[in-house]
Point group: D2
């Protein structure tokens, strides 16, 4: 949980936008920003982009996440519809060819496309290359593709992770939690490997709590503790209306 919440949601949100701004010097306020994927990373980017004044459009294949994005106040539509509206596209789905050949055809000239998901497969760069009559490096890590109708599409970091390529990855103040998490997990494994099978385990909740507590302490934040009366109540559930 501390990995997901803090590393992905908060870390990716800031570092993705940071990477885009560094490479393009684009003002986010007023822009149509299309965020593909509304998982932890996607919602982090969507929230931050809205915080910077962008009009955010979310695309999703999962119905529940799509509805959640709607209820969070985002425009939700298919990529086919979003393709014609977006000024900036960011993919964070973990899936392949989320922006594909038929989407490039629908885009406005001058759009910027990038990926902040897991791999470099989310944007179909091969299709874009094939469609383009020319390609040049407009700036380092900014490739300009000119399509047959002179429409220009700017691809950042060749479709690789924008927050690693364009910025400095996750800020240190987030990564400390990931590393603390990993360190405590390693410690846990060392202490418990005799009891463990060869399979993937979830991070024990105890470790997550510990990492969060250490982080809160480092921020000078003290929170409430359950009183005995409250613990008793939670375990009994006997009172109430």
């Amino acid at each position: 949980m501390t990995k997901h919440f803090f590393d992905n949601r908060y870390g990716t949100g800031q570092s993705t936008l940071d990477g885009i701004i560094r490479l393009t010097d684009m003002l986010l306020a007023g822009k149509n920003v299309v965020v593909a994927g509304y998982g932890w990373c996607g919602r982090g980017v969507a929230m931050k982009a809205r915080g910077m004044g962008s009009k955010v459009i979310v695309t999703e294949v999962d119905e529940v996440k799509a509805l959640e994005a709607v209820m969070d106040g985002f425009q939700v539509m298919s990529m086919t519809k979003a393709a014609a509206l977006g000024d900036l596209f960011i993919t964070l789905t973990g899936d392949i060819h989320v922006i594909d050949k038929h989407h490039f055809k629908l885009m406005k000239s001058g759009v910027v496309i990038c990926n902040s998901g897991h791999f470099d497969v989310e944007i179909n760069v091969a299709a874009l290359s094939k469609m383009a009559k020319s390609k040049r490096e407009a700036k380092p890590l900014v490739d300009e593709y000119v399509l047959s109708n002179n429409k220009k599409i700017y691809l950042l970091a060749q479709g690789r992770l924008i927050n690693l390529a364009g910025a400095e990855g996750h800020p240190a103040s987030v990564m400390d939690m990931s590393f603390a998490n990993q360190a405590l997990c390693a410690e846990h494994i060392v202490g418990n490997y005799m009891k463990m099978d060869k399979q993937v385990y979830d991070v024990p909740a105890r470790i997550d709590k510990n990492v969060a507590l250490l982080k809160l302490k480092s921020m000078g934040i003290a929170i409430d503790k359950l009183t005995n009366e409250q613990k008793k109540y939670l375990s009994s559930w006997e009172i109430g209306t």
Copy 2:
């Protein structure tokens, strides 16, 4: 999930603030609003209150949720510290005596206290009554307690659910999802009870997806579907950087 997300997060958020405004006619902008509990309901209320211009303080006993509230931009502190700052207190913890005798002592005169959690036990009303030298109904469902130092504390709906007492509960457009969910669950049970044990089951993901899809359709929103290429990719995980 559709129950949690939409009923609690979005429904409770709006109806809680609605109930408070109806009973008190209080302007939320600029007020210190203390939200006890950062579960689905609590974060819904916290987000909405911020959206109305309040300065929101969150209290939590869970370290991970507390840290999440911090990273979402809320002030997080113990109730003891928050008690002296708040203008409005809303409890949504599911636990007992979250606002207790020693908290009342620290509050400013004129504060408003209410509960939007599960039962009427979150605020220690008995302790408040005992501390008060007088009590009167200032308005329907608004009880004014005068403490020995003439400090006034306003308790809404006797500490019962403010969104049911003060407003009209969840808006119909949220409850339709809950009811759809329950109807489809009932149908599921009818069709599968022979295979089911006497225990609590999670709502099948299929039903959640279905409810979300119906809701999206009713809003005229179409989303993407996985292509065959994407399905294959997701099930293989063989390509990548």
Copy 3:
């Protein structure tokens, strides 16, 4: 200024949404809310509606305000385009027939229309009546107009001020500033009428400052004062890069 800022921006924002929710019990999250006019009142409503999870569309006739709405992250378009998208329409322009006959024709069935501007002329109610094959009061202050194609349009408070009709007007905690302002202005006139011509005067900045200071004090908020060094700097402008 204290009148504009606080009465209109903050007061109207909350009381308009409050009025709508009381009359319709509509969940704002996920809805397309069209706000006509981006003056003090309009932006207050737009911000608050976004804070409640709505997707907000702004219409404006003023280019600068329209651009400002874009840069604040709102969708901006003509009413003709917005008419087909909106679930809820709120007019705050101070002008006539902002929602007119040709807009009603484009709307979806089930939309809600209301006015929070100065008078009851912003919505062309006469045209709507003429177009409708039937009209009934669905609930108090909620009129259902059925058009020839069985499309239903719900008009709140007959197009009169929704925040006065549906809610309780401006919250007391905002109106106190307006009244303080008016009282201090009256005092100012009493003390200065000998020097004043028969014309409209702006509220003296001194009074605005005074009202704001009193309000801050009542909130327990202390702010910085200019030091002598700072006053001197501001009046000289001699140092700098």
Copy 4:
């Protein structure tokens, strides 16, 4: 207006945070960010920082602006009080020594201080130098001052404009409006200088409208125009409630 709104509010907001992130790689989510000054620039930075998940504290000397910040949901307090809480301080006041000797004394170790106002006088760098027992360049443009109690204070860009020093100034998509504005003003002066006195003139509203209209067009956004009926209404003000 187009200069103020778009250059300062939106441009400064993004470029200031961009500059800070580039120099420090600090995660803004969860941080206490103190914004000194709530003018156009200050509120732009405050809004954007909140959008990135920061807990924002505003300091002001003007009562009306201070109250506005409160009503916008920000914590408002004196710099003396804020000094002890902040993780990051940004000055945008246009005044001298807004962060002064007695403020440095109250700060936590590890805080970051920078200026995004007009000159390099807002932070009393001379006083900080005098208080420090040592100073070193931790990174380019990041000076680490170690005070007598080993407390560390990080000053960015020697107190000069952070958005020019650390980032690339205003994004091109904002500056185009400023330049368009200046070009149209120059044209206006060429055409009208015979009628003009030697004094400072406001930019004619006509030019602002023109710049905004051109920008909206470039974004593909069309807005409503006043109908004849509406123009007549606005000039008459004879109808109404």
